[in-house]
Amino acid sequence: MSLTREVTGSGGLSTVPPPAVTRRRRRAAETRAGYAFLTPWLLGFFALTAGPMLASLYLAFTNYNLFSSPEWIGLDNFRLMFDDPRFIQSAKVTGIYVLVGTPVKLAAALAVAMLLNNTRRGQGLYRSVFYAPSLIGASVSIAIVWKAMFIDQGIVDRIGQQLGISWGGWVGNPSMTMPMFVLLTVWQFGAPMVIFLAGLKQVPAELYEAAAVDGAGPVRKFLKITLPMLSPVLFFNLLLETIHSFQIFASAFIISGGTGGPAGSTLFYTLYLYQRGFVDFRMGYASAMAWVLVLVVGIITFVFFKTSKSWVHYSGETK
């Protein structure tokens, strides 16, 4: 990825090299201007991100309830976590959601993107319609609708009855809540689809034509051309959607009424973190949980970038 690409070519300001003094003075002025423009971000970074991160790292090793001063307890919070069945449950629920929801959502996004890429008429309109759920899917409004659709005797129950399946209401059934949340995230396939579609447009048509001349079928074309050519976009979507999935909150809060029920089946990680930190005021424990989340997300990001060299191909690269 070219995240840290540097901008070059600002040295050619004038043809005659200015005297050293002027140059030094100009550099000092540039530094002053740079930090002046960066002031809002720097303030935000230190006051709202870096400072609080350090503070929560400290709190993670303490017992703190907002009302008395923090008491240092070393690694106890982390030890407690692994004996806490609700913590284990929240890690499990979130893990399953990330591992199932993200691949299914991306597969749907890629399939629809390929479908749209072959549809010439109305492509822009479809693209916008499919994107819309990504904007509203995480809202409270949609959580309410989802709940109403999946309750006992609700429309999904009715559709099941029509098909001869008696799955009942999904909201109250601990083994059906996960599919309900996976469907909610898959419904929001539009954002990664838009990115896939933009990637598909960059694949040179000559590649497919050459492959057709060589007698390659659609499966071979997909595996040998589409997937490698899309790998940078796939990498981007996979990383972002995975990190994003860990942070599901509002829908779980609304559908379970803030409890994570039934039977802890919707106790997503952030929901449990909220309960510990802001309902029980166990802020040390909640900080420790937040740091575990940061570590997990950090490790996943690291692994993604490390392995990307072997499966992400950038065009123009000879490999």
């Binding site: 709202l48 503070a55 009715r158 909220y274």
Partner: protein
């Protein structure tokens, strides 16, 4: 269609008749394929739109008619649910919630466009020591789960007596704390021709002038995209207001909606649907007007990353 694009030299020379027959056959398979693709796309459209349409249509039905009614067309449509939703909850009118949401969203848009564009200018256009380090840190915060900062932030705002005000929800927007917007604008600015500011510098313009007179007008597409996202994300935000706002008179719509769901009898889905629809209308309006900017913004984001 594809056959026309194949370079002449790459296929073996064929007779006129054979290539014409080939072309005809290709054209007819193309047409069947196109029809199949259209059927597929329409099926996806139906699945995508159904939940949203069901919500809109249900908001017009009496509650007894909503649960389990797969059909979209209401038998006897009425606006009774909306009347009930507009009454509000606990003595606070719906319009108060709406006004709170609007204040938060508009202030977010102002804060983010100001602070992110200024910071992005420093990253994209000024050379100064330390820039690379700050830029890497900014990128790192792009992927950081925000949960790691909320507890200390809450403690700070609590000690400053700012809980139950809009300050904790807005201050980050004015300090470019959401790296997504800074990154989006840096990417956009890097694609603007350097010659523009260089010419202005030779004419004696300083950074403030270059930023306000040259960069800002050229950045209009990035500013519009950022504004729309800033508005919609603020409008839908649930976690922030849930943490910081305790007084119902300060609630924006998502939290009010939750209170509404908790307080009305759980079976009153009609009024819940109506309020859910009302809460989504501004987002949908924004989407209808600006969808090109939005979808285009998402598309370029992914490719330039």
């Amino acid at each position: 269609m594809t056959i026309a694009n194949v370079p002449v030299g790459s296929v073996e020379p064929t007779s006129e008749e054979r290539s014409a027959a080939l072309r005809r056959r290709n054209r007819s398979t193309e047409r069947t394929k196109s029809v199949l693709f259209h059927i597929g796309v329409l099926a996806v459209t139906a699945v995508v739109l159904y939940p949203a349409l069901w919500m809109f249509m249900s908001s017009l039905k009496p509650t007894s008619d909503i649960v389990g009614n797969v059909s979209l067309i209401p038998d006897n449509a009425s606006l009774a649910n909306f009347a009930k939703a507009l009454e509000g909850i606990g003595g606070v009118s719906f319009w108060t919630f709406f006004k709170n949401s609007m204040i938060l969203a508009v202030a977010s848009v102002i804060g983010i466009t100001l602070s992110a564009s200024v910071s992005a200018y420093a990253f994209a256009r000024i050379e100064f020591p330390g820039r690379k380090v700050w830029f890497s840190l900014m990128i790192a915060t792009l992927l950081l789960p925000f949960h790691v900062v909320i507890i200390p932030q809450y403690i700070i705002f609590n000690n400053l007596g700012l809980v139950n005000t809009f300050v904790p929800l807005l201050i980050g927007k004015f300090l470019a704390a959401e790296a997504f917007f800074v990154f989006l604008m840096v990417q956009f600015m890097r694609n603007l021709p350097r010659e523009l500011d260089e010419a202005a510098r030779i004419d004696g313009a300083g950074h403030i002038r270059i930023f306000t007179a040259i960069m800002l007008p050229l950045m209009k597409p990035a500013l519009v995209t950022s504004s729309i996202f800033a508005f919609i994300w603020s409008w839908n935000d649930f976690f922030g207001p849930l943490l910081y706002l305790k007084d119902p008179a300060l609630y924006p719509l998502p939290i009010a909606l939750r209170l509404f769901v908790d307080q009305t009898s759980t079976s009153d889905y009609g009024a819940q649907m109506a309020m859910a629809v009302l809460a989504l209308i501004p987002v949908l309006l924004f989407f209808l007007v600006f969808q090109r900017y939005l979808v285009g913004g998402v598309a370029t984001q992914g490719l330039k990353g």
